[in-house]
């Protein structure tokens, strides 16, 4: 009898060790190798990534109107609790002035901080993980040109068990796929560019898809409509199974660049800042995004 108990105890310990190992935060790039990845970023191209990614929507200092002041502290209310996106200005103490390119790459591509610790997917790295390393490096060069801002965001206020960061290791096993999408040679160059911008930096699926109990995107309903982060308002289906079936590619371009739907309504809510950003992208990129969105196979609108 005692032997059985001992065996059970051993199994439990082994399982705990395995769980601890499996859930460990693993950077993609070793910090010790930072020099090899540091040079070559282009701030002009990085600005395109900044606009496509909409970084300022969450990271800009609240209560003021300059989207380039990235002091953080905005309260992002979700069903799991409140997130306070951090200061990502180049301030060396309060912001990410001390970060290397590899640190940003680890944050965006695998959701791991320099500590290393798991970052919460309120930072939509489930999408950013599809970005090219060079684009992350360009983004870092651009972020470094922005004004440093003092002050730190308060810590996240989350309910149990979501306040246990280590648990994100398991979450990532389920939901973090990553990898740059392969070019589809049967499609146009514009479509492939749009595919990349929408699935990667643009992270459109993060709001336009329903989520399951653990906050992961329901794969079979990707782009078929979701809820705003606070869970209060519906976000439309952007596959051809929704209102966009009647929109032309040019209609989608108008919506993304001028904020106007075919019947002249002006997009509001969380989409308004997206339009403000996208309207500054090169025309070709808007056309590319629209070409990809128009090609999304019809899925009936998600129930929630």
């Amino acid at each position: 009898m005692r032997r059985w108990l001992l065996l059970l105890l051993l199994i439990a310990v082994a399982a705990a060790i395995a769980a601890w190992f499996v859930s460990a935060p693993r950077p993609l790039y070793a910090r010790a190798d930072w020099r090899a990845y540091e040079d070559g970023g282009d701030p002009g191209r990085g600005r395109i990534m900044f606009l496509a990614g909409g970084c300022e929507s969450c990271h800009m200092t609240p209560g003021q109107s300059d989207p380039l002041k990235l002091g953080g502290g905005y309260e992002l209310k979700t069903p799991f609790g409140s997130f306070f996106p951090p200061n990502i200005s180049p301030d060396p103490q309060d912001g990410i002035g001390g970060w290397k390119v590899v640190d940003l790459a680890n944050a965006l591509l695998v959701g791991v901080s320099p500590e290393p610790a798991h970052l919460y997917p309120a930072l939509p790295y489930t999408s950013y993980s599809h970005m090219k390393f060079e684009d992350v490096r360009d983004l870092m060069s651009y972020l470094r040109t922005l004004p440093p801002v003092k002050g730190r965001a308060p810590p996240h206020r989350l309910s149990f068990p979501f306040n246990i960061r280590r648990g994100l290791g398991f979450w990532k096993l389920l939901y973090l796929k990553g990898g740059v999408p392969a070019d589809d040679p049967t499609k146009s160059a514009a479509w492939n560019r749009g595919h990349y911008l929408v699935e990667g930096p643009g992270h459109c699926a993060e709001c336009h898809s329903p989520r399951d109990l653990f906050g992961g995107i329901v794969a079979s309903k990707r782009f078929a409509g979701g809820l705003t982060a606070d869970g209060k308002h519906k976000v439309p289906n952007i596959t051809q199974g929704g209102a966009l079936a009647k929109w032309s590619q040019s209609d989608i371009e108008t919506a993304l660049s001028l904020g106007l739907t075919p019947d002249g309504d002006s997009l509001g809510g969380d989409m308004a800042p997206v339009v403000r950003n996208l309207s500054q992208l090169p025309k070709d990129d808007i056309a590319a995004i629209a070409a990809y969105i128009k090609s999304l196979p019809a899925i009936p609108s998600a129930g929630k």
């Binding site: 308002h233 904020g259 002249g264 509001g268 809510g269 969380d270 403000r276």
Partner: protein, 144 residues
């Protein structure tokens, strides 16, 4: 008798208030519909239809008219009902809300003065359309 009169009068007043509220909602929804039509007419030209100054100016005047009439169409008693998309935030910061209308009016007037051809139309209109989005961002909930 007196009491009946008072009750009838109170009811009438109450109905009147309800009517006024739904009237305000209907009126502002009609303004927004008109703005949508006006915007669509301008977008057509921006996307390649022949430039027509009359159409452009009529559209801009529609925006200016909305900016002037809009603020009065959000009385305290029109927060709910009639499928309104108006968010409670409007009545929490009425000054800011009304400032958005004022900015739309100013920007539309400036556009009215400066748009002469397709090139100036393309240059000026995004600022005006930005005003629509900026207000909808904070104060309008989209129903579907």
């Amino acid at each position: 008798m007196k009491r009946t009169l008072i009750i009838v009068a109170t009811l009438a007043l109450g109905m009147g208030a309800v009517y006024a509220a739904s009237d305000a909602i209907a009126k502002r929804q009609a303004l927004m519909k008109a703005n949508g039509k006006a915007a669509t007419a301008i977008v057509k030209i921006m996307k390649g239809a022949p430039f027509d100054l009359d159409v452009v100016q009529a559209s801009l005047k529609t925006f200016i008219d909305s900016a002037e009439k809009g603020p009065a169409l959000f009385p305290e008693d029109s927060k709910t009902g009639d499928d309104t998309g108006a968010l409670p935030a409007i009545w929490q910061d009425k000054k800011d809300f009304e400032a958005h209308f004022a900015k739309l009016g100013d920007d539309a007037k400036a556009a009215l003065g400066s748009i002469k051809d397709t090139a100036s139309l393309k240059a000026e209109m995004p600022k005006v359309f930005d005003d629509c989005g900026a207000c909808h961002e904070k104060y309008r909930a989209k129903k579907d």
